[in-house]
Amino acid sequence: MSSGATPIVEARDISKRYGSVAALTDVSTSVSAGEVTCVLGDNGAGKSTFIKILAGFHRHDSGQLLLDGAPVEFSTPRDALDAGIATLYQDLALLPLMSVWRNFFLGREPTRWAWPLRRLDAATAKKNALEELRRLGINLRSVDQIVGSLSGGERQSVAIARAIHFGARVIILDEPTAALGVKQSAIVLRNVIEARDRGLGLVLITHNPRHAYLVGDRFLVLSLGRSLGEFAKSETSERHLTELMAGGAEFTELQAELEAAPARGAARGAP
């Protein structure tokens, strides 16, 4: 909305019910090329439902999904993938006991020679995997090493590089920093910036406002399936996001209570 260009993906008033449970009600946001959109929310806020709709796993019940300004319907994850929307879940769809290059091309292996002698083109696969990783600024010792021997940040890099290599225009990252330490999280966020600078649109799902505010351009805060607002970076702050996520009013009240009664705590602390 701030930039004049059409977003790659836009969600307008998306709603989704599971039986009688409203998982998502009238949620809107968008992601443009070279932008990072962050979707924030506590557990059960509807983040997962939202990305599953974007990724083609679920159909929304009402509202509109637009791809380059035109309405689309994704009936399978394959549809979303073909439209250039790649989703990286926490397991990253990587196999720890398989080598980096085998993981990189899994399901889309380059081959040479004709059937029945058709075989993996390992040389091409290794070369391409290494090049794509370098382009994202990642230097692995060798693409022959197994993914299980990589650090959490490096695994994320491999998954992102793979998505880019196979034509992703938008990458959705589901809690990429949730299981990582500070150093590894920094690697992941750096990858996000790197991918953004290469003109990709990124959707970062997280419950860490700190990480979100660091790299995000646009912020959608969800709570119990409803949007608490969508903000551009200039319209919000890390503190604001934290407060919204922490349940806003409820926690402000609790905070006020605690601050109003410091004496009791002190009294109990004293012998």
Partner: protein, 347 residues
Amino acid sequence: MAIVSAGRSIEQAGRIQSFRAAFAHPGSAAVIGAVGVFVFFAAQSGPFRSAAGISNWLDPASLFGISSIAVALLMIGGEFDLSAGVMTASTGLVAGLVGTQTGLNIWFDLLIALVFAVAVGTLNGLIVVSTSLPSFIVTLGTFLSLQGLNLGVTKLVVNQVYAGGLDQIHGYSSAHKVFASTINFAGGQFPISVVWWIGLIIFGAWLLGYTRFGNWVFSVGGNPTAARSVGVPTKRTKIMLFIGTALSGWLIGTIEAMRLAAVQATQGVGNELIFIVAAVIGGCLLTGGHGSVIGAALGALIFGMTQQGIVYLNWNSDWFFLFLGALLLAAALLNHFVRRYAMEARL
């Protein structure tokens, strides 16, 4: 000075890395085991290392090895097949009974047995992938059913517990040549099953390591959800693997039927565990996603050497299973630590 030492340490790290990589290969424990078992028996027994002796232990190794390759591939794909052992009897019986009862050419009978094997393999695979029931249970069901069918149908048709007289079937001599003849080589007589086995080792290793299908096998065993999400046809891959083990049972069944010109309705029972033992010694994880065809072949080789070696040393063959059990445990432990070592191999 500092630069030199830094250069050295990188070089050293690289060497440790390649050492680790070599050990990370799932078949490394099987290589050590095979060499160890060979040295153990060969050092104490001259006949064990003679051409005749080698032929003697290569024979059971090849028979178990044929299915251990298919079972290893299936295990890497994350599934079990307990019906693989009894399948050797079922396919032999199908061919034998059809041949002796109808008088049709043996090649046609073998083809019918092959179709039967593909059907059972497909059934195993379909049930597993469509219900997500553990393959251990599904194929245990198939195993018991086939065991019952083998006895029941054979008794019903020929009123005894074996199908004999296969050598009377038209075309027997040519089939015998292909599946049950011997080859003179280096002063020994080697069963042709060894050639089949070696051919299958090469085919299996190529399939697993150098084709798309092999990549898919690793992925459906390692993380089927991830595999599906990147477009791997996980169900088809698994069904193919079940057909593979059934077909390997057919090959063993055919070889044994052609050798003896008769098929016992009770044969093959218990062998399914030996295939799994060979695959595990060869580095296959029970949870899938990791393993090696060469390793499984070496596992079968260890089995053959031990079985015959005990005879050569004039030991009571009662000790055989103790020996095998200890080997299995040792290999499983070694594989476990080797894998952990490989997973930690980061710089």
